[in-house]
């Protein structure tokens, strides 16, 4: 298909698509185009048909083995039929059928689980739909990217995903990441100019970015999905399932400040007027006011804040119906804060602005560092209006504002500024700055009608009005308040052994008070500066080792060698990195990783992106975070609630613990399963456990092991340090020793005791059994003598053998019952943990019922060679199960009594 959209003149382009750069498409046209072209999405790659997915579960590696086993069974049976005709035994036939049933049951189970999992995962994806900001019918609106149509005018800002293939009409420093299209790893700059015939090369096109998403591996483990689902309920969206586990072992969390720890919602905190600092009242009904609302100094300050302010509430009724503090605003953050503050205290801001009409304005820019506007004054006093018809209001960086002032408004009178007032100003400015607040200065001037009569043409270009010798009014300081749950969450991370590091682009002076408030630097620890200030000595005299906390400036970080960074991270448990560039954020993350830590990076801005990618797990804010952040993150906090991270860590640890428990449980049946074979081969004792019974044990083991995944967390889960990924593996020496050692052998003992007893009761005393294998297994020996010289035919002694095997099987199942209960906890007593895991309880009951059915139901037993067992032969196993419970409770009790003791080091897995 030939594309010439990039070659056309813009006017022709507008015509072609019936659109307008200012007004965009009309809704009706957009609807028409949507109906014609369909949604703006890539036609999704062909999804595999369900039956193929089903087959994949039916013929996986393990399933394949079982199929082969079943086929071999049938072939053997076929040969037997050919050889012995009607005499052929049907054992192999039944075994084959049993195998197939098992494959089909487990295959369907995993298929349905997988289908469920992928449904959940899909639902996750739709939870953060990419959106685009477009102009339609002259209005800016947010729509989902699928609803974009050809001709829509799209606005894109830093960090946004390009929502469609677009022609650029206007741009400033626009760069796009085209790496997935062209392989260029550097961002490519884009601008309205047509530079190349090739659509990929020309600068005036940008393309729909689809990050190549592989999707999740076919076998999504159930437990990861379960946890992800659990987390999603708490508004913590897991995009990458492995992230759950990573979060659990996280030992360092690097958090960006703005928008992550703080609300990214500026609020006026303090004001300085009449030479006093007062706390601003931002409560809804102004019940906290600490100042008189009729003081002229305050009124003048607020008038300036109202007029010299471009922020406005979004004018839809829904927004206006909300409490002031939650309303959405157009305009700059600080101005919105001022707007909200004055709306709360004075009210009717919009009306006031309308009365005092703006006639001229110089907006804020970084060279001026001020903002000026001139208003027609409306008062009841006509003579005053006539004499001084205009008011000039200015706000900006306090020191710059003060420079332009010659007088200061104190207690209702204008006082000339002298050193005393400059000093007072400086103290107030420093004080507010040290609280980490953003300070603005305000001043005004009533223009006299002599120079500026009514109807005077103000011109912002020529500045035909005075900007000096103004009247200073006061200061207002704003703060981005901490998110409510942050201090608590950070304290929880602390107690869970996780170090929280602040990495912010903010100034150290702003960062430090916030980090103190958040608890990143705790109340009783000091930085080098604090010590110096307290002791009244210079910075050089303080031993840096005395300071547990430190605030590092980005420039200092740049000068540090990796070794110095390592030392820094090692020696200071509480660190704040301020004024860091994106590159330096990476340096911090790398430094943490060098320490062997698992690092989580939480951020909301594009400047956090590289560090998020570098970290073991990147976490994005769902509301304040940019599209790119959400795209790159492994996890998204949908409600921006920092406390969700604590839940995430807990769930991650829980999953690891539970997997460990599952594995421990599964391993315990190895020894009792192996012992009969060892005794068969080494001591010639007739086989105490058959293949079909082993198959049954494995089946039950798998089901039970899965139920452990639903186990609740132990009480110490958030009180222990994060696991060391190098030493504390999922399966470690202690786990293997523990499961194969005591527990395994108690089970084996129970099974063997039952086996020997049944053999003895039926005439084969243990002494007779040793070395009996050859005769026992010989079909030609039809008269095998037992200890009482009774003689057994082959079939008769096989019946006995199968009975013994059934009893051994039942013994293991009963012991595994106890093992399942002890595996519920690793440290706590089971009495403390309780039996609240309903699925596990269900499994316990199911197991017993299944065993009873298999053992006592006539036809089934014959088919699987499982024979009924007298109830008394359940008793040794019941006793052993009891023994296992006691043994493990005692072990756990001793571990709790002697933390870090020998038993813990050797047996705590």
């Amino acid at each position: 298909m030939e594309i010439d959209d990039h070659k056309l003149d813009l006017v022709d382009l507008y015509q072609r698509y019936n659109t307008d750069p200012k007004r965009g498409l009309s809704y009706s046209e957009a609807q028409k185009a949507f109906n014609r072209d369909g949604p703006n999405a890539l036609s999704s790659s062909k999804t595999k048909p369900e039956w193929i997915k089903f087959c994949r579960h039916m013929f996986g590696y393990f399933e394949f083995l079982l199929w082969i086993g079943a086929i071999l069974c049938f072939i053997t049976h076929g040969f037997e039929v050919v050889t012995y005709h009607e005499d052929a035994s049907s054992d192999n036939l039944w075994l084959g059928i049993a195998l197939i049933v098992i494959v089909i049951v487990t295959g369907s189970f995993s298929y349905f689980q997988d289908a469920k999992c992928s449904r959940i995962v899909d639902s996750f994806k739709s939870m953060v739909p990419p959106q685009a900001l477009i102009i339609r019918d002259g209005e800016l609106t947010n729509i989902r990217t699928e609803e974009l149509v050809v001709g829509d005018i799209v606005t894109i800002k830093f960090g946004d995903r390009v929502p469609a293939d677009i022609r650029i009409l206007e741009s400033h420093g626009f760069k796009v990441d085209n790496s997935f299209l062209t392989g260029e790893s550097e961002p490519q700059s884009r601008s309205p100019e047509f530079t190349n015939d090739n659509v990929l090369e020309t600068k005036n096109l940008a393309f729909f970015s689809t990050f190549a998403t592989d999707g999740f591996p076919a076998t999504v483990t159930i437990c990861l999905t379960l946890t992800a689902k659990r987390l999603a309920k708490k508004n913590c969206l897991v995009k990458n399932l492995e992230a759950v586990e990573t979060l659990g072992s996280t030992s360092i969390i690097c958090a960006d400040k703005i928008g992550t720890l703080t609300q990214n919602r500026m609020t006026v905190a303090h004001m300085w007027f009449d030479n006093q600092i007062v706390e601003a009242d931002t409560s809804e009904y102004q019940q906290n006011a600490t100042y008189n609302g009729t003081i002229p100094g305050w009124l003048a300050l607020t008038r300036c804040a109202i007029l010299c302010n471009r922020a406005d509430f979004k004018q839809d009724p829904e927004n206006l119906a909300q409490p002031v503090l939650q309303r959405q605003c157009y305009g700059d953050e600080s101005e919105a804060a001022l707007l909200k503050c004055v709306e709360l205290s004075i009210g009717n801001v919009i009306n006031f602005r309308e009365i005092n009409r703006k006639v001229c304005e110089i907006p804020f820019n970084s060279t001026n560092k001020y903002q000026v506007s001139i208003h027609e004054v409306y008062t009841d006093n006509n003579s005053e209006v006539d004499s001084r018809p205009y008011l000039l209001v200015m706000k900006g960086a306090p020191e710059h504002i003060l420079e332009r002032c010659s007088s200061i408004y104190i207690d209702g009178t204008d006082v000339e500024i002298n050193d005393y007032w400059r000093n007072a100003f400086n103290q107030a400015y420093m004080k507010l700055g040290s609280l980490g607040e953003r300070v603005l200065g305000f001043c005004d001037l009533r223009l006299s009608s002599d120079d500026h009569p009514k109807g005077y043409q103000f011109n912002e270009e020529q500045v035909n009005f005075p900007l000096d010798n103004l009247r200073f009014l006061g200061l207002m300081s704003m703060i981005d308040p901490l998110r409510v749950a942050v201090p608590e969450a950070i304290a929880k991370c602390r107690s869970a052994g996780i170090k929280v590091i602040m990495v912010t682009g903010d100034h150290p002076i702003t960062a430090k008070p916030i980090s103190r408030a958040a608890g990143i630097i705790s109340q009783d620890t000091e930085t080098v500066e604090d010590i110096a200030e307290r002791a009244g000595v210079s910075l050089e005299e303080v031993n840096p080792r005395d300071a547990k906390a430190c605030v590092i400036h980005g420039n200092d970080l740049k000068a540090m060698s990796p070794a110095e960074i390592d030392a820094l991270l090692e020696n200071h448990p509480e660190i704040v990195f301020a004024r860091t560039s994106p590159q330096q954020k990476i340096t911090v993350v790398e430094g943490c990783k060098r320490q062997g830590a698992i690092v989580a990076m939480i951020g909301d801005g594009v400047n956090d992106l590289p560090a998020m990618k570098k970290a073991d797990i990147g976490i994005a804010m769902g509301i304040t975070g940019s599209d790119m952040n959400r795209e790159v993150a492994d996890m998204v906090l949908l409600d921006d609630n920092f406390a969700s991270i604590v839940t995430g860590v807990e769930q991650g640890r829980l999953i690891f613990d539970n997997l460990k428990k599952s594995i421990a449980y599964m391993l315990t049946s190895n020894i009792p399963k192996m012992t009969p074979f060892l005794m068969y081969f080494l001591m010639g004792i007739p086989l105490a456990l058959g293949t079909s019974t082993i198959l049954f044990i494995d089946l039950l083991t798998i089901i039970s092991a899965i139920s452990l995944v639903y186990e609740e967390a132990e009480t110490d889960i958030m009180k222990k340090p994060p696991r060391n990924p190098k030493h504390d593996r999922l399966v470690n020496k202690r786990l293997i020793l523990m499961t194969h050692g005591p527990i395994g052998f108690i089970q084996a003992a129970a099974g063997l005791f039952t086996y020997f007893s049944i053999m003895a009761e039926n005439g084969f005393l243990p002494s007779r059994l040793f070395g009996l294998r050859k005769s026992w297994e010989s079909k030609y020996v039809n008269d095998l003598q037992d200890s009482y010289n009774r003689e057994w035919t082959y079939e008769q002694r096989k019946q006995l053998e199968f009975t013994c095997q059934s009893a051994f099987f039942i013994a293991i199942v009963i012991c595994q019952w106890a093992v399942l209960i002890i595996c519920k906890t690793r440290r706590n007593s089971i009495l403390e943990q309780g039996m609240k895991n309903r699925i596990l309880n269900g499994v316990l009951i199911f197991e017993i019922i299944l065993v009873a059915i298999v053992s006592y139901m006539p036809c089934l037993g014959t088919a699987l060679n499982i024979y009924p067992v007298k109830f008394r032969w359940w008793l040794p196993a019941l006793f052993s199960a009891f023994l296992i419970l006691i043994y493990d409770e005692v072990r756990k009790h001793l571990i709790r009594q002697h933390p870090g003791g020998w038993l813990e080091r050797q047996t705590y897995f």
Partner: protein, 321 residues
């Protein structure tokens, strides 16, 4: 690669910290002591429990016998199998008769039969006098004289003629399995009475014995099996051998000793076809003896092979080898 090997070796033995598999000597010792005592305790407990169980077990007959024992299940009624001798190896049921062997040459089958008879039938009664003056003795403890089973006219089936093996007319010992408490009833199961009468030419219920009949398993075997003589306790017959029911039931050991001698018959194959494998099935008939070929109830199976190659052929064959 070298790094991997060295790191593996390091994991195996770390000379710096004197650790073998991640534990130093003291660590291993402590762990060893812990597990030693744990397993010692477990094994001790296991053995003690087993010993207690054994001590409580009956001495002369198993706790479960007849239908109570696992010999019988829901689908398989209690019914004795048959046994045959000689069976020098447990995993074979083939009896080879070498017609060309010299008569005094040792024969494994004859030796096996010798041993069998020696163990179970040449028992000496304990001399009662030795302990008779001890009056306090529990009468049950006193030795009971054994009722000896003897075949009156064994014919060829003696040690002297290597049980017929030297003559190429092998005698095979066939007996019924000993089952504590089981007494066979003469006759045949319902539905088989007619064929039983035609086979054994004996009227069922009147007789005092259960009868054993041997035949070729497949038609070809029937052709090759030739004449059979059944040598029973009280006579010879060409149709069936008799096991007198007066020998039954087996009541278990007496004072832990097996005093019981089970009846048996000799089945002598007078003219088995040479150089061909013959599958033989022997079956016992009794009213309460259930027959099932597949599960081996009431039967025993063995194979006989008579080697009768001309001398020359043998030597030529040997030469080839």
């Amino acid at each position: 690669m070298g790094g991997r090997v060295s790191s593996f070796m390091n994991a195996l033995y770390n000379p710096k910290r004197k650790q073998f598999l991640g534990r130093d000597g003291a660590g291993w010792t402590k762990l060893g002591v812990f597990y030693f005592f744990f397993y010692l305790g477990l094994a001790g407990f296991f053995c003690a429990m087993l010993a207690v169980f054994m001590a409580l077990s009956p001495r002369d007959r198993p706790r479960y016998y007849l239908e109570e024992s696992r010999m019988a299940t829901r689908s398989n009624p209690l019914s004795p199998g048959l046994g045959f001798r000689p069976q020098p190896e447990a995993d074979k049921n083939l009896i080879i008769i070498d017609k060309n062997a010299r008569p005094n040459e040792p024969n494994v089958y004859a030796k096996s039969l010798d041993q069998y008879l020696q163990i179970f039938y040449w028992k000496e009664d304990k001399v009662e006098k030795a302990e008779s003056d001890d009056e306090d003795d529990d009468p049950r403890e006193r030795p009971v004289p054994t009722r000896k089973f003897i075949i009156n006219k064994p014919g060829d089936c003696t040690n002297a003629t290597q049980y017929g093996f030297a003559k190429g007319k092998p005698c095979v010992l066939v007996k019924m399995n000993k089952i504590v408490g089981f007494k066979p009833k003469p006759g045949a199961p319902d539905g088989e009475k007619k064929s039983y009468i035609s086979i054994c030419k004996t009227n069922s219920t009147a007789a005092s014995a259960v009868y054993v009949h041997c035949y070729g398993e497949y038609p070809a075997d029937e052709d090759n099996i030739g004449n059979i003589t059944y040598i029973s306790e009280n006579g010879r017959d060409t149709k069936c051998g008799a096991l007198e029911t007066s020998w039954f039931p087996y009541e278990g050991k007496i004072n832990r000793e097996d005093k019981y001698q089970a009846p048996y018959i000799w089945v002598q194959f007078n003219s088995p076809s040479p150089n061909i494998l013959i599958n033989v099935v022997c079956r016992v008939y009794g009213q309460n003896i259930d027959f099932d070929k597949k599960t081996g109830r009431a039967i025993t199976r063995f194979q006989i092979y008579v080697k009768d190659l001309p001398q020359q052929a043998t030597s030529r064959l040997n030469g080839d080898i």
